[in-house]
Subunit: 373 residues, 2 copies
């Protein structure tokens, strides 16, 4: 039986292991926290630091395949393991590009993939020198995650808010829609593309409000979005599963925002809404099985359950009964014992047909189900 | 977080734990074999004999709820735990009725539930005395499972094949269709009925050939089947999830064959084919949540993957790639390392619309995917 390791034990690892139950695979998981959401669902839990060379190398030495559920892993160790013959999906070379926003933007440019114009900064001082480029958005080259390491710099007076260290400064796109496309790609280059998802953000809280699938885009823009996302994934030259986040402006121009080399929040709905889920497709790729059907069964909306602001401590889910009583509504909790403001604690998928009904139901779920302490 | 225990760690426990991932529950599992299919998917694995009073009592003492995935558990211990306040779904009283085929048949009779005529035997000698009742089928009162403990006695010359010990002798029904109905029932008596499934048996091998959902029955017979199954479950006066197996003869008469007080092989397809699966509905009942939608999303066929005759040893799945390449076909393997002739090693669910296409695909899966050693 193939031995597959997962680096990272959060909710993405949890749902990946939930799907592994169907397949002939012996699962290994590395995470520093033995109480993490995925720890109890693998065959072999290994406590360790996924950013540490020795830990990752020793974890992977006797495995057949390794995948990740978070980007911040030790790529040097993965490279050494790859040289030894362990299959690493995504390839360390793709991970290196994605881990660093400067390399990622240079990669898009080199491959003629549309992305917002940008310049590279080495320090906050560089930001001062680039006043003429403003307004823009500064993104730290490394270490940003879930909105951290990103700062809008509208005018010179915002420069004090800027980051020190290597970063990019991007032109602001006049965003009409934010789209995510999930694509699996196997060893032979065969691809499985999921119908694009539209992510709607709450600009006040700077977090996802809800997402709907399929995205509400005219057919021609949809084609462009899919073509661009496919080009990103093919150019990375690595098997695995990728989420390509794109921005569409009012004129219908498409820009790649960023790419994640792993299962993604914007693919949670595929568990119920598509014939094969993103987790299923990744296992098929890891195990060398044929790709599956990514088509939609039902349209869907998805709401993240995040910890309420001003609540920290032992989590309480208020309104679970009401939400579970709603038709074709699926609650997924991640098993985190402690809530914090904004922490991702679970999600709810709603199946339906009519997009406006789905959005109404998404708001209903948000108003009913509260993550408090 | 609620603490729920499962007695038994086979494939049913495995799929029950796969669904538990979504819910706020701390899972405990008891099984004698620490390598059983479900062992690695719970929070706390307890090695023990589910038929032993002490083992079961100690396992359950600190739990909030207990359920089962196999009937052969120690009911005395469960009764004592119930008296202590642990919620046991199904109730020990229902388990007692079902564990013994004589009590089960008497229960149907008492509740005016249609079932094949029968007489009770205490020994093989009784069988001799009941020659005038033949042809019939003898079923051992206790210990029968998966076709074992069942023997057709056509004429007096078959009596030598009969069982010693307490049993029933049933009239043979002229079977037109074998049907299974899965029903969840919550604490307040609310029910969630899954559309009836038709089980097609391979009479030569005496095992399930394939099953399809919904069953191919005229509407009026379907209503009768559902009404009878509901009556069985309501009469048991116990929350839980039940599979009622029924026989329909050519005249359209409906007979209850037997009832299982747990998730069931005939409900595996509900994972993909229904809005909520049998596993989901049982968790909702265990956790006191509202019942969910049991409607069909797509028609389905299901094939059990059983160990080939004359093959024992380390399992090999031949033809996995071909089956996974078939459209909307879902393979579930149970993680058993050793195959034996007839052993249930996995199942395949096929989604579609047209019943005859589904049956054709079921046969294709059976011809392609072989469980060998």
């Amino acid at each position: 039986m193939q031995k597959t390791g997962i680096l990272g034990g959060g909710q993405l690892g949890r749902m990946l292991l939930q799907q592994a139950v169907n397949y002939p695979v012996e699962t290994f998981l590395m995470e520093i926290d033995s109480q993490c959401p995925a720890a109890h669902l693998c065959h072999h839990f290994v406590q360790g630091d996924i950013r540490n060379f020795e830990d990752v190398y020793r974890f992977g030495e006797f495995l057949d395949t390794i995948t990740i559920e978070i980007e911040s892993v030790n790529v040097d160790a993965l490279e050494k393991l790859e040289a030894k013959g362990v299959k690493i999906y995504p390839h360390p070379s793709a991970l290196r590009i994605i881990q660093n926003k400067i390399l990622q933007k240079d990669f898009y440019k080199k491959n003629e993939i549309p992305t917002a114009k940008y310049i590279t900064l080495q320090s906050k001082n560089d930001l001062e020198l680039q006043r003429s480029f403003l307004p823009g958005v500064q993104k730290l080259a490394e270490g940003g995650y879930d909105g951290r390491g990103v700062q809008v710099i509208k005018t010179a007076s915002d420069i004090s808010k800027g980051f020190e260290g290597a970063s990019i400064l991007e032109e602001l796109v006049d965003i009409h829609k934010e789209i995510s496309v999930i694509i699996g790609i196997d060893e032979k280059g065969g691809t499985a593309l999921f119908p694009p998802v539209e992510m709607v953000f709450d600009t006040a809280l700077n977090q996802l409000d809800y997402q709907v699938c399929p995205a509400g885009l005219p057919e021609k823009i949809m084609w462009r979005v899919e073509a661009v996302a496919l080009k990103v994934v093919r150019s990375l030259r690595s098997p695995g599963l990728f989420a390509v986040e794109l921005l569409v402006d009012k004129a219908g121009n498409v820009y790649v925002n960023e790419t994640a080399p792993r299962v993604h929040n914007s693919g949670h709905h595929t568990i119920e809404a598509n014939y094969c889920s993103q987790y299923d497709i990744l296992w098929r790729i890891l195990l060398g099985f044929p790709l599956g059907n990514t088509e939609i069964i039902r349209n869907s909306a998805l709401v993240n359950l995040v910890g309420s602001t001003e609540c920290s401590g032992d989590v309480i889910y208020e309104g679970m009964r009401e939400v579970l009583a709603m038709e074709n509504t699926y609650v997924h909790l991640y098993g985190k014992k402690q809530t914090k403001p904004g922490r991702k604690m679970g999600h709810v998928t709603i199946l339906g047909n009519n997009p406006s009904d789905l959005i109404r139901q998404a708001h209903l779920v948000k108003s009913k189900l509260k993550v408090i302490a």
